[in-house]
């Protein structure tokens, strides 16, 4: 089952209400969306730690999303080229949130992924003189160096945060983790379900 925000909201609503949800459900869909994002970030963190524990270096490909034809722009103030991050990126240690950046038709010819600021360390070293294309994340942009001549758009593969996903966008998550994911969202909402609603506008918490 491909999970979307709308599907998750419907599922959670059903689970929490023990069947068909009333017309005014206890959980507003925006709350479920927010919890879906929190739970997914946690799932990614768990998957990353398991990966490290197993001695592996790669997360399952289902976590990643490919963004095609991302336009290359120029930052005239600093003379750097960049692309806008197509979505908020999930930052993981060792830049694992970013799988690859490459020209559209050359998926195997990926740019070197660097840490922001590392260009000053490599400046003057032999590896820098090879002028291989490279990329680093800074703010909400992906800055690129030594981009091949004529390349005007890029293929960006990364783990996106889902806050700016539309309700019918498929959430990138491995199928084997879907049950755990739904359970996690449900548990995160337990507190809200069990706590009686505060009907008085005062400073007392229930």
């Amino acid at each position: 089952m491909s999970l979307t925000k709308a599907k998750i909201a419907a599922l959670i609503s059903e689970i929490k209400h023990g069947g068909d949800a009333p017309s005014k459900p206890k959980f507003h869909y925006t709350i479920i969306y927010a919890m879906a994002e929190v739970a997914r970030n946690q799932i990614i963190d768990i998957a990353y730690k398991e990966m490290r524990k197993d001695g592996a270096n790669s997360l399952p490909g289902e976590f990643y999303k490919a963004y095609k034809n991302v336009e290359v722009k120029e930052d005239c103030d600093t003379d750097r080229k960049y692309v806008d991050l197509p979505s908020r990126i999930i930052t993981l240690p060792h830049n694992k949130g970013l799988l690859s950046v490459s020209p559209m038709k050359e998926v195997s010819n990926t740019f070197n992924i660097m840490d922001a600021g590392s260009d000053s360390i490599f400046a003057g070293l032999d590896a820098d003189s090879f002028a291989e294309p490279e990329v680093y994340i800074e703010d909400e942009r992906l800055y690129v160096r030594d981009i091949p001549v004529g390349v005007t758009s890029l293929l960006v593969r990364m783990i996106p945060a889902i806050d700016d996903f539309k309700s019918d966008d498929i959430i990138p998550i491995p199928a084997v983790l879907e049950a755990e994911y739904i359970t996690m969202i449900s548990k995160l909402l337990d507190e809200e379900k069990e706590t009686p609603q505060d009907h008085y506008n005062d400073s007392n918490a229930n």
Partner: protein, 262 residues
């Protein structure tokens, strides 16, 4: 269709990809770091283990100097061609270096009593020959050459490491110097080639270097990596010094003779 064979040479990228494959690294996060270590490793192997002598034809500047190639580490021979023959030149540590900003030589050209350039086609002196290595020029194979000995004090050179130039006391008749030199093996355009036998030591070197400065890795693991590299390097050294059957037979016949057995 003929048999397919793998190439006898590989590139630096081959080594880097091999290392990244070993550690299951599917992104290019460590690529540049691994490339830098591979370059350092290749330089080390070229200095101490691999046979990495190259030949370059260099045009003399107006002040009689030549600029050495980027990958130059040290010269093995310096010579000129006169009348189709190579003449090896002599080192003279007393040659003054010319001003880099001027086109004039630091020392005057040697002239004979008639004012002719002393070093010309009529002036070469047979002496001990030095063998040059085979190389390719413009795609043509140039076999072993023999340079005639220098040491005559007419045309000498001195290396200027600061400016990466070689200064000469004279101008070659055709303005061209032949330099045979020890190379770092690194081409700035990324076209450096690595012989197959050097793949394993280089691969182990990069693994060792990636771990060496990581404080989270146990010292025992680092020491093991170092040992693995040194073993592979020793294998490479052995490979380079091994002789062919012809070389063995030549040597055998040169020291033995047939006599009547009594």
């Amino acid at each position: 269709m003929g048999k397919e064979h793998t190439s006898g040479y590989v590139s630096l990228n081959y080594i880097v990809n091999l290392v990244l494959m070993d550690i299951n690294e599917n992104t290019s996060v460590k690529r540049k770091k691994a490339l830098q270590y591979a370059i350092l490793g290749l330089t080390r192997l070229n200095l101490y283990t691999l046979d990495s002598v190259r030949t370059a034809y260099l045009t003399q500047n107006d002040n009689f100097t030549v600029d050495v190639p980027n990958d130059y580490i040290d010269y093995t021979k310096v010579g000129v061609i006169v009348d189709g023959q190579l003449i090896t030149l002599s080192l003279n540590p007393d040659i003054p270096f010319p001003d880099k900003n001027k086109c004039t030589p630091a020392s005057p050209m040697s002239k004979d009593e008639n004012g002719f350039n002393l070093f010309g086609s009529d002036y070469y002196f047979p002496d001990f020959g030095y063998s040059y290595l085979d190389y390719y020029r413009n795609g043509q194979y140039v076999g072993e050459q023999y340079g005639l000995g220098g040491g005559l004090g007419l045309f000498e050179f001195r290396y200027n490491p600061e400016d990466r130039q070689i200064a000469f006391t004279d101008k070659a008749s055709n303005g061209e110097i032949i330099l045979e030199y020890k190379s770092s093996g690194i081409n700035k355009d990324g076209s450096s080639i690595i012989p197959r036998e050097a793949v394993e030591p280089l691969r182990r070197w990069v693994h060792w270097q990636l771990d060496e400065y990581n404080d989270k890795i146990a010292q025992s693991a680092k020491t093991r990596r170092e040992r693995l590299f040194l073993e592979a390097e020793a294998d490479l050294r052995h490979f380079n010094f091994i002789f062919t059957i012809d070389e063995y037979m030549d040597n055998k016949y040169s020291v033995s003779k047939q006599t009547i057995s009594r």
